[in-house]
Amino acid sequence: MNPSDLFSAAFLRQAAQELQAMIDAAVGIRSAVLATVDGFAVASAQTDGSDSARMAALASSIASIGSVATQEAGLGRCASVTLNTDQGFAVVRQLRRDGHDLVMIGISDGQALLAQVMYQANQFARRLESA
């Protein structure tokens, strides 16, 4: 799957820029990938050499399991999933653009504050959805 099959070049540029902006915000995010819901990378930004294709697949799996879990729990639509570890956070945020459901995963190190990472993730989603 080629991202340009689904999205314009302008959107792909914007996505890449916004992901880079998350890293440049210096809140501890070291990797960020935007993916289709079925796990194909659309855009990415990394400082840690991580594999964006693998991260994309991970993000889609995590998002789908989060969606099922919230539905089973009667909590409605899952907006995001947070993985809290000894060494940092992973935040998976769902968003929608041009009729396509997308997922974004941001990986942050142990120095990050969860609230700041989630803020960046939410800002990313708002900017891409509203453009």
Binding site: M1, D5, L6, T36, V37, D38, G39, F40, A53, R54, A56, A57, L58, S60, S61, I62, S64, I65, S67, V68, E72, H100, D101
Partner: protein, 176 residues
């Protein structure tokens, strides 16, 4: 009452989600999303896992976990396999090279298959008779395995139950 975990894996479109839905006594958990891969004519695809369960006559419960079929979700294969009793590999005989497809899962689950029983279910064999069951057996033998191979229509509950019966029989034989 004992609980047993069985993994269903196989190529995208082989019918893993359908198979679990055919036998689950509770509404199955499904993590299907839109399929953006236009090389495969399928509207949706599993990206997390499927889950279903059924109770055997002796009161034991079978917990069925279906994996995504695409190799980019290999990490899910390993995560789901933990604690599994056995593996069912489903293939789609209408695909260009079903034996190559089979080898993907023999390789992907190599660690598990060194100890766990396995059954191979071949779908769409009636409409696509080649490779035949003997070819599958030969391919398995070349890979160092001797597993039962059965034709299956995963839309039919009895076919899916037969796959599980054969798998459980293997387990009982190993324990004897």
């Amino acid at each position: 009452m004992r609980e047993h975990k069985i993994i269903l894996t196989g190529t995208m479109g082989a019918g893993k989600t359908t198979a679990i839905a055919a036998v689950s006594e509770t509404p199955p958990i499904v993590t299907d999303v839109v399929n953006n891969d236009r090389s495969v004519d399928k509207a949706q695809t599993t990206v997390g896992f499927d889950y279903g369960q059924l109770t055997l006559d002796n009161g034991d419960r079978i917990r069925l976990f279906g994996t995504p079929g695409q190799e980019r979700f290999r990490f899910v294969w390993q995560a789901l396999s933990s604690g599994a009793l056995g593996l069912i590999i489903l293939t789609d005989n209408s695909r260009p090279d079903p034996l190559a497809d089979l080898r993907v899962y023999l390789d992907g689950f190599a660690t598990e298959l060194s100890t766990l029983p396995c059954v191979v279910g071949v779908g769409r064999l009636e409409s696509h008779p080649h490779p035949d069951l003997q070819a599958y057996a030969d391919a398995l033998e070349q890979a160092g395995h001797v597993f039962p191979v059965l034709p299956v229509d995963v839309r039919q509950r009895e076919d899916v139950l037969l796959l599980m019966d054969v798998l459980l029989s293997q387990l009982e034989a190993d324990l004897a």
